[in-house]
Symmetry: C2
Subunit: 416 residues, 2 copies
């Protein structure tokens, strides 16, 4: 079955057959949505939509714009199908009865971005691209490097010279060709585009290649299977997602749209985008009530969502406005607090990932969601990705002489 | 069914009923093996040994010395059931046809140690212990803190003041009470024992509490289900395991012994312990051909297996000698090389975890295993646990001006 039938520009609506474009709209540079053959998929029985027993995002192959799974026996085949928790302590402290946290840290490179990179690598294989390139300072680069390595594809990562050495190390351990650019991220991004054209590489840049959102939409499918379908709620679920460049929230919105269009969803979930007040370009536009997104000078400790001008801003904004959701901006101090809130139930999140939980707390305070609403929060990356922030959130531990008396003097027992 | 019927001392062989002892042998301080009712388990049909459809180590509840699963909807219920890869590139480079790498980094706190801590917490609940304490500088402490947090148990971690701040941060984010001791690890260990007695806490110390090995044995069960049972090899599989204090290898040996005793294994696997030459107390005893393990002054970059005198050394030694396995010592340089070997196929290992792969390479060179042997290598922890080592393994990336000419001058394309 040929389910992948083309692209549609998210700005001008022009449609293109699969072979006519590769990245953005030739007319206006708008991000392209992948078009699936919804009528054909609507006729499929439920068991033909999901590959039962496949414990990875590849279980949704019938809804993905590639024709086959790749990398049997390698980490690319282990991306996705992450656990979803329902921590009783968080429910109690928030006064919610229906709360889930989807934890993306068990992905092979420890972040949500493996979903996009897994699909990108499968697409690269289908179109015969040997080298995949991206500009990145963090999780997207690590995900591409890891997923490409799994199946022996070459990857090239352009990063600004200022990128954290630890993140560069992860890229290099995966065998990526890492090129540090003596300039900022925008320059690395532009250079990756030039290299793509010059060398015939395949470009994974987020908010540029339409397949990243198609990989990310698999998280929506998992929420559907493990939470929505399993519970059959009377009201729409509320999904809280941290937002930087906007491609994760766009991808998840696309996933729910796919499901809705093929008749698998009773309600469209309400989608809430959570940004740091220090990097709130989309939240600003939402508050102003228009679709013009203006660049900010981003300044937040949540580096994975620190963005001046989101590359997928328009679709990210519409993910909220088209679903009766909202955008929420939270202070960095609230993000640090959310790290410890999640940590106290055994979930270790990086700052960008904890922004979603901070956003939920604010949404409850503001009455945007009620205690009756089913709520799902995404933890998009492991706290091990940014231990400096964890140290800032957790504070110092006391130092004592090695004696029982010193333990007693600490008074740690009193509180129990 | 009462399958947990007592303990047997690994040194003197004395047996004790479940209620008579808690930690080590009262006679000689030897580590205790948990005794299961093998005759009763041997009569069980296969489907009564494994909880089908449970995607965690709790699928083996019928073979664990606790009566019920704990923490539904929390990370403790997600420990174990980790992916096993079979990377074609590694097979080719080693000349092996049957090779698997079991990757423990997707565990909730990103290391193998979650297996032990999950079972410990379940045991604590059964005996009514509210506070669990351990001495640790790293993965064991993080695992206890995370698993205890998941179900609202209190944890106390004694660590030497010199412990890496990043690891302390992970402990504190999980809400553990972290007490830094102004002395070395041995002093922290002793203080944890005193506090256990004084305050009635439950002590998780590795090589001391017999339940840690029972949690760790679940990795053997997973290897059995996903590799051994699925392939029905004609010859024993060879399992490569990094060894520090010796409790992981003891636990995995125990798991295979359980399976063998209840009639589920055709061959007992051969177990190979891999140590750094800088921390080779058990490998030294193996080479000398006796069971007396002498302390070393440990000095290796693989901090998770850096141990002067292994707390579970005797059982760890026998895991190899009783299975026709061996002990192998590898240089730190070989460990760093193994990090990049694994990274190149998308598996990011910390140094202690990569020692097992370095050990396999040496075992092949030395003729201890042959290309016909089925081989399974354990990656016991995520490379994100020690990014400094990753940087040392991966080396520097080049810095260029942001121009295509500079990319071309790098010559990165020539090699492709």
């Amino acid at each position: 079955m040929q389910k992948f039938i083309g692209y549609r520009c998210s700005v001008c609506g022009t449609e293109y057959p699969p072979g006519d474009v590769t990245y953005t709209c030739p007319k206006d540079g708008g991000n392209l949505d992948v078009l699936l053959d919804y009528p054909a998929l609507r006729d499929l029985p439920r068991e033909n939509l999901v590959v039962d027993g496949e414990p990875s995002l590849w279980r949704y192959l019938p809804l993905l714009p590639v024709s086959r799974m790749v990398g049997a026996g390698t980490p690319i085949r282990a991306a996705g199908w992450t656990p979803t928790y329902s921590p009783p302590q968080l429910k109690e402290s928030l006064g919610l009865t229906k709360l889930w946290v989807k934890d993306e840290s068990p992905n092979p490179s420890a972040s949500f971005k493996d979903r996009a990179s897994a699909l990108l690598v499968a697409r690269a294989r289908e179109i015969g691209a040997e080298v995949i390139v991206t500009a990145s300072t963090g999780n997207a680069g690590a995900a591409l490097a890891g997923m490409a390595a799994a199946v022996g594809h070459k990857s090239v990562i352009f990063a600004p010279k200022s990128a954290p050495p630890a993140k560069i190390a992860q890229l290099r351990v995966y065998g990526a060709t890492v090129i540090l650019v003596d300039d900022n991220y925008d320059a690395a991004f532009q250079l990756s585009l030039q290299a793509t054209e010059e060398f015939g590489w395949y470009n994974r840049n987020t908010g540029y290649n339409p397949f990243t959102a198609e990989g990310k939409k698999t998280a929506a499918f998992e929420i559907w299977e493990t939470v929505l379908e399993a519970n059959d709620f009377e009201r729409p679920a509320c999904i809280f997602i941290s937002v930087g460049d906007g491609n994760i929230i766009s991808g998840i919105h696309k996933g729910f749209k796919d499901l809705y269009e093929i008749g698998q969803l009773k309600h469209m979930p309400r989608i809430f985008g959570c940004q740091s007040t220090g990097s709130a370009a989309i939240a600003n536009a939402y508050a102003a009530g228009d679709e013009d997104i203006t660049a900010v000078a981003a300044d937040t400790l949540a580096d994975s969502i620190s963005v001046n001008l989101p590359s997928d801003g328009l679709r990210a904004l519409r993910a909220a406005t088209q679903t009766d959701g909202a955008y929420i901006a939270v202070e960095d101090s609230a993000i640090l607090e959310a790290i410890t809130d999640l940590g106290r139930v055994g979930i270790f999140a990086e700052p960008a990932a904890a922004a979603s939980y901070a956003g939920l707390k604010k949404a409850l305070d503001d009455g945007l969601v009620t205690p009756q609403d089913p709520v799902i929060v995404l933890n998009t990356g492991s706290g091990l990705k940014d231990v400096d922030a964890a140290m800032q959130a957790a504070g110092q531990a006391p130092v004592i002489e090695p004696s029982l008396d010193a333990v007693k003097e600490l008074g740690v027992l009193g509180g129990w």
